[in-house]
């Protein structure tokens, strides 16, 4: 029974794993279909790395960053200890307990040292889980707990706790004792049977329905030593289970009536097997994807590695994120999340929608815009990448995601902010798409705010959020325009730039600031502050130009495109 259920779980696990691994080759941010090519290239690159001098790097990374969790330790001792306790505790439980019979020649779960080790490793996991739960419950404003995080904690907790419960129930179970006696013991007399029972009740934690005679304990110990001790160490070695069993003593007969230990055993085993079967679709996939991500990133050479492999690497990276929130703690713009009300600004909250994006789920236009804003509002400071315990090159993921979303025809007003500096540094590798995207967003802005024939009739008067009234001192002396180095570039600047700085100040003074939203001048302002410095009237010309640009970009953002549902890429 167990064998076939176990085999079934393992087969489902394998099937899921094959599906997951294939998705690393099938999916991409841009949605190209080149899975086979990527599969062949990916495996040949991996093969080459394995059979080269790079194997040293691979082993080093697996040891230091995988087994010893160096990258986590670098970020936080608390998180390192927490994860090590869970990870090592559980791994050791699998080796010494779940696979005990395969690992040890004469494995008996109730013998020493197995009884001790099981409780020791199980307690490690419990302490680690306690730390994990505390970390997530504690008021940490940037740490979000997803359903997957909850699943992971609950599953491990249930597996380990049911194990302790099972062992505790077994210690006190008279049914269990009788079955063992029937199977293994041979008594010369009725008294010997009673003696052994007396010994087990007094020394081995058993709860008997009848009273036992103290006088027989010494004799019972002799029988125990010759017949039981080989397999049964003192249950106190299983310190946590034994402690737990003491609290069950009054319930012992009830447990036996319900055949509790047998049921609990199935619960314990089935949860393990179900967790294994669905592992590829849960957070526990990180057992496979994180070491992979660590190794690939250690071997990665941005100049020499193949672009096709980058896509595969990024799909593995998406699956290697464990949502630990380290990146968000380090994010330079994490405080922009609240004022802008977009959770996708936090790096740890970008992965989940990107995963849905690559698996071609449906998105509303609004959600896509939120994701795009989330990946675009980034100063590319690299801190998320440097700190990621899974070694994910997060910054590159954001970069690729932005370009992929632009390719789908989405635009982000922040493209016209200094955040685009980084994109500008990488213009050459983007080729034609680079300029095209900028032109598109500009065109959208200019078209939206195109000056009408009669400027004076167009906009309604609006209050300025900031710098209110400062432009009223302007008497259009044109000093600002005359010192502007951008204006100076052109022979006929008004043809290129639309309204010039002094005209913009006058329009503002007249309450017609919206008329200038579509002026190229706003988009060409270097913010060098020459105009503001030169103004004889103290008008904060540059700040106003920036303020107007901000308002124009905001108005563009708020303008909802018709909501269309786009499926996949």
């Amino acid at each position: 029974m167990l064998g076939s259920v176990g085999l079934l779980a393992f087969l489902v696990f394998l099937g899921g794993l094959v599906f997951k691994v294939s998705s690393w080759f099938r999916c991409s941010l841009r949605g190209e279909r080149e899975g086979f090519k990527r599969f062949v290239l990916g495996f040949s690159s991996l093969g080459k790395a394995l059979f080269s001098s790079k194997i040293g790097i691979i082993l080093k990374v697996l040891l230091l960053d995988g087994i010893l969790q160096r990258r986590t330790l670098k970020e936080s001792l608390y998180r390192w200890l927490m994860h090590i306790l869970i990870y090592w505790g559980f791994a050791l439980l699998i080796v010494t307990h779940a696979l005990g019979k395969l690992v040890f020649e004469d494995y008996v779960s109730t013998a020493f040292p197995h009884a001790l080790l099981r409780d020791l490793f199980g307690s490690m996991v419990l302490v680690g889980l306690g730390m994990a739960i505390w970390r997530r419950l504690r008021k940490a404003p940037t740490l979000r707990t997803s359903r997957m995080d909850l699943y992971a904690i609950v599953v491990v907790l249930v597996i380990v706790f049911s194990g302790f419960l099972l062992k505790g129930a077994k210690i006190i179970s008279y049914n269990n004792y009788s079955r063992m006696v029937d199977e293994y013991a041979s008594f010369g007399s009725e008294e010997e049977a009673k003696a052994l029972e007396a010994y087990w009740v007094k020394r081995m934690g058993l709860v008997s329905p009848e009273k036992v005679e103290e006088a027989l304990i010494a004799k019972g110990e002799e029988i125990h030593q010759s017949q039981c001790a080989f397999c049964h160490a003192n249950p106190r070695w299983a310190f946590l289970s034994y402690g737990l069993s003491r609290t069950f003593v009054p319930l012992a007969s009830g447990f036996d009536r319900l055949n509790f230990t047998a049921k609990l055993w199935w619960v314990h085993v089935l949860i393990c097997l179900i967790a294994l079967a669905i592992l590829p679709f849960t957070k526990f996939l990180h057992l496979i994807s994180v070491p992979l991500s660590l190794v690939i990133n250690a071997l990665w050479d941005p100049k020499r590695s193949r672009p096709l492999n980058l896509k595969t690497k990024q799909m593995i990276e998406l699956d290697a994120c464990v949502h630990c929130g380290t990146c968000t703690l380090k994010c330079a713009v994490l405080d922009a999340e609240k004022p802008l009300g977009n959770i996708r600004i936090l790096p740890s909250e970008k992965i989940e929608p990107l995963k849905r994006l690559v698996s071609r789920r449906k998105f509303s236009q609004t959600e896509l815009q939120e994701i795009l804003q989330g990946v675009y509002l980034c100063t590319n400071c690299l801190r998320c990448t440097v700190s990621c315990p899974s070694g994910i090159n997060l910054q590159e993921l954001w970069f690729e995601a932005r370009e992929a979303l632009f390719e789908r025809g989405l635009l982000e007003p922040a493209l016209l902010s200094p955040l685009s500096f980084y994109r500008g540094l990488r213009a050459e590798e983007l080729g034609e798409r680079y300029e095209k995207t900028i032109l598109e967003i500009k065109e959208k802005l200019l078209r939206r705010f195109e000056p009408k024939d009669n400027v004076l009739q167009m906009p309604e008067e609006k209050e300025f959020e900031f710098y209110e009234g400062t432009f009223s001192g302007c008497f259009a002396c044109q000093t600002c325009t005359n010192v502007c180095p951008v204006v100076f570039q052109y022979e006929r600047p008004e043809e290129v730039l639309g309204f010039l700085p002094h005209q913009i100040m006058r329009l503002c003074a007249m309450g017609l600031k919206e008329a200038v939203y579509g002026s190229e001048m706003l988009l060409s302002c270097l913010t060098c502050y020459k105009c503001q410095e030169a103004c004889p009237q103290g008008v904060v010309v540059t700040d106003i130009l920036m303020g107007l640009k901000m308002e124009a970009l905001k108005a563009l953002k708020e303008e909802r495109d018709e909501i269309r549902s786009i499926s996949g890429v």
Partner: protein
């Protein structure tokens, strides 16, 4: 004076030599500085996205430094200008300060306004003074001609940044002369490098970069001295595209002084 070294986003990611050389120099000069955990974006790029957000980002950094009783020491013109401007806005407008403090509450922070914001140039020239730097020069850099580039936000708006005379500053030139190098008063030294428009209007951005470098070359400069990561990246990275090859070395003021101190091999 105690400082909180504010590196911003560009330096650690794209210009680590500025970080190393600045720390080297500050240590050599015995400056008490520290990096503060939690420093983030200064708010500069958000000025045209959402002013509240920009101010929240600025205020967070200001408050973190304030909590440590340290003044902000910025290596970047744009961070410097942004933080100083934010400080002024918050200091002058209590209702704005309250509004922004609401966002900082969750982190247990509250901006009071006791922190000062300084640029490296300010610390070198005004807090430490030219004499202190002159004393340490052991390897005078004679015979090299260095053009200067201030970076807009170190000078303007002068009512906020207050570093030097915005129309005819001499601070950078004097620092260069102290190293033994010869500073050149080139025409375009107060112009923008073009970086603020890179990625949004490359034509204008690169025109400025080109003119700037051409002007320095015309004046026979061997180096173009900068004190801002944006300027450095902009003026360094586009020479091939603009001139077909690298025509002029840009040098960070920190590296220049370190060389004069004999702390690094001659450039």
């Amino acid at each position: 004076m105690r400082y909180a070294l504010f590196l911003g986003c560009n330096i650690p990611a794209r210009l680590p030599e500025y970080e190393t050389s600045a720390k080297f120099l500050l240590k050599e000069l015995g400056v008490d500085f520290e990096e503060i955990e939690g420093f983030g974006c200064c708010g500069y790029p958000f000025k045209v996205i959402d002013l509240t957000t920009s101010l929240v980002l600025s205020a967070k950094n200001l408050t973190l430094a304030e909590r440590e009783n340290r003044h902000i020491l910025s290596l970047c013109q744009c961070c410097y200008g942004t933080l100083k401007k934010a400080k002024k806005m918050l200091d002058e407008d209590p209702s704005l300060r309250n509004q922004i403090n609401e966002f900082l509450k969750a982190d247990g922070l509250n901006y009071r306004g006791t922190v000062e914001v300084k640029h490296l140039l300010h610390v070198l020239y005004k807090d430490l003074g030219p004499e202190m730097i002159r004393e340490k020069v052991s390897n005078p850099l004679s015979d090299i001609k260095v053009a200067t580039h201030y970076g807009c936000h170190s000078l303007r708006p002068s009512s906020i940044v207050e570093l030097d005379d915005p129309s005819d500053p001499r601070l950078l030139e004097e620092l260069i002369n102290i190293t033994g190098a010869q500073s050149l008063l080139v025409n375009k030294r107060l112009e923008c490098c073009g970086a603020p428009l890179l990625g949004t209007n490359d034509e204008v951005a690169l025109n400025f970069t080109r003119e700037k470098i051409a002007d320095a070359l015309k004046n026979e400069a061997e180096y173009l001295c900068v004190a801002c990561p944006y300027c450095k990246l902009q003026l360094e990275n586009f020479q091939e595209r603009l001139f077909g090859k690298k025509v002029l070395s840009t040098i960070l003021i920190t590296n220049l002084i370190n060389m004069a101190f004999g702390l690094q091999k001659a450039h």
